[in-house]
Symmetry: D3
Subunit: 183 residues, 6 copies
């Protein structure tokens, strides 16, 4: 006779923006765990080509998505600013998030760093990586290609209210306020 | 024939720990607004006499409280680390939180700083300040007095699991790792 | 019968070094406004290939230039260190500069970020961008080409006293103290 | 037959606000030197009881004062954020200011730290320290006493436009956004 | 029949200056362990009343002491700057020090924080705390009392070369460069 | 009749990992000076492709090497985190290291920055730069080539215990936790 032990999982992403790959990961974890923590990484970054949305905008998108899907009582949203010290990073995440039992990730460095701390990990096989990716979505916008099918429907009204498409185009070729040409 | 315009309010606190004063503020705002953002300030502080809980522990306590009260679909929890620049601080809060229409606070500096940014504010009259206060609760623990009636019942099991009482006593007279006697 | 309303404009640059493009922008703004604030960005950067001069050296060059041109009573020099948070950056600039009415810039991100704050902006069309540019000047020095005609005459004695040419050559291929080869 | 060697002096203050003691120091230095650098310390601090003005507001006050006194062609205004490393601090000041020959100060730690770097120093004997002091002025405002005679006349219209008196009263008992009671 | 298992211990102090209490702790640990790591905390602090020596000066004093005592092949000196996050601090120490098996300390917060990380700890009972203390030594110097018997003889020539007595007196009443009177 | 004046030299490196080029530099300096300071730069970096080892691991490797070579009484190991201000950097190094008389380096920027501070410098001609280089060693590991002959024999057991080879391969293509694709 078996026993099912479930718990709380941590998942870290940048969510620039929340896309169908994240949606798949959330569903995958909710099938296996009681509750999940969705941690927004690089929280201090915003208005750059790779991090166009502020942390608050990303919270709004994820919270609205979970509200529409009636998942708020199983999902906890947190934010995690970068620290430039990879060895310290998992402990920094633990300080900023509720207790969890396991880390799910498709990112090998995330898995490596938590293992170094003795935290159980579970590798997620990312699906359709050539489409379900923030980079791909942002590049499609820059090239004027279709991208709305790659994000959850619930998030499109917020992205439109935030002028997401336009912001991506404005930030297009600019990275820092001052162009450091040799960097 | 009237029209009721409601919106989303921001409330910032340290929640060391969540107490009945916060509970009152949350209820007060939910009576007046559609949704509220509960922002955890001094998020980077932990294991000090005035900030004993980590940010993640505070999220856990608030999230569990809201879950039990079935308020998760009207409340968004966010975290805000300190920046030592008061003029910048309201913009820093805005970067880390979803869009809001008004700031509720009992803290005159919070109200002043948001007004300086042109953000609408609403002063909350704090009730029973001599009891409903993190400082009072932590001091009661240090003096061995009763304190559990000052926090929401739903949070006591978590505080006990975190050894809150014991942690407060351990941190009692210590502020920083190294005692800077003249500071 | 018309009324002329003038005010105070903000202009942000890195001034590595002050060149004829900046000179043109200063004259352009002084034609339209009472007073201008010249804010030195990336103030904390120095002795790198793209930011060879210290903030203090840049202040000295600009102040001397304005003194010779008898413009000190219409121009205010300020310095602005970088913060790695673009959404916060305009508020950070406001904290570090006297009150201004409008931002002039040729940089689309500077214009976008101030617009997001509700600050009036005025786009300057940069002239002779393939010559009037800090990058072009620094590259000319590295290739041993003529560059002195690209900076205001008043600044050449200071640049020479600072061994500007030699410093550029010394910093040539080096960016950070330690070579992070894959960055 | 003598020779008069003059140079450029550095003076660092917080200017919260510019007062008659600073005015005296500026006149004292201008009697002895060709040019002076007025460096605004603790530049990142603002909206606190001891540092009520932003850096930009302090620049505005000093610049306007110097403009009215026709001193702008002999005085250079700079700003210097704090670094919490006293041994590094003089080098940090040097990075942010034009070349100078000597440091004038009434503060023994400023003199000690620059001497440690081998920089010539000149002790200013502060006059009427029990009146010509930012602390005294801010405390007089808190107690409702007369204070306007302690600051240069030219600065009063700006202080009034900034609601200086009211800001001091609002910030009165508050230091940080969150009251850290045992600090 | 017993087995003796020894290992490497960590000891963290500020060493302002190295005194006979530290000497006792070092001997105590060397009796019980193969090797010890002597970690200098608050490494970034210097030229303040409570942290008068730079990190480099503290390394010089400890290294010379160990060299004279022929202990360099059993002791490893490291430096640890502060981070204002107590929960992260033990991991930060681990990143900056070689592998160790146990933490020795007389400081209850150091012991608590390492226990939270699952690191074995050993409480040192401090001896003669009313004399063997950096605070006591610095206060004796300020009051002109005898203090040289409280530090190891080997360190006195270096302290004298560094003008330790005089530096303490100069820093006496001054804490920060700018006097923040209400802090 | 001559007089030999020797002193203490400073050498700064990243030691990712300690290799035969560093070994040659250490021997070269020990032939010319009484004592040397070995300062570990970019101390805060770890678990990245260019900085795979933590500061503590690098201290362990260097200390063990010096212990085996019986050089601990002539060599002082220090660590130096990066500051992003090259002009300040030499003073920052001085704050973190014991007194030294001269800087030895093969890095032209290190030599330039210390000269700017008035510190004597000595250029080391690096030998076999196409082999004795951290970058070369890390790249050889990534390509599966032989590399152990490029590091001192004494360090191989520690590198193996740290799974150095495997860590390099894991970090291979990853730089930051989040892939900032356009950086």
């Amino acid at each position: 006779m078996g026993m099912i032990v479930m718990g709380r999982a941590l998942f870290v992403g940048r969510f620039q923006p929340l896309h169908r790959g994240h949606e798949y990961a959330i569903e995958y974890m909710l099938d296996r765990e009681d509750e999940i923590i969705i941690a927004i990484g690089s929280a201090q970054e915003n208005y750059t080509p790779t991090n166009p949305l502020t942390c608050g905008e990303r919270i709004e998108i994820i919270w609205t998505y979970l509200q529409r899907r009636k998942l708020l009582d199983r999902c906890i949203i947190c934010s995690v600013p970068d620290i430039n010290n990879n060895f310290l990073w998992p402990r920094h995440v633990i300080a900023l998030t509720p207790k969890f039992d396991i880390v799910y990730s498709g990112n090998p460095l995330v898995l490596l760093l938590f293992k170094t701390m003795g935290v159980p990990t579970h590798k997620i096989t990312e699906i359709k990586k050539d489409e379900y990716s923030g980079t791909v979505i942002r590049n499609k916008i820059l090239r004027g290609e279709k991208w709305r099918h790659l994000v959850p429907d619930e998030t499109i009204p917020i992205l439109d209210r935030l002028n997401f498409e336009n912001r991506i185009r404005m930030l297009g070729g600019i990275y820092r306020i001052f162009h450091h040409e040799k960097r």
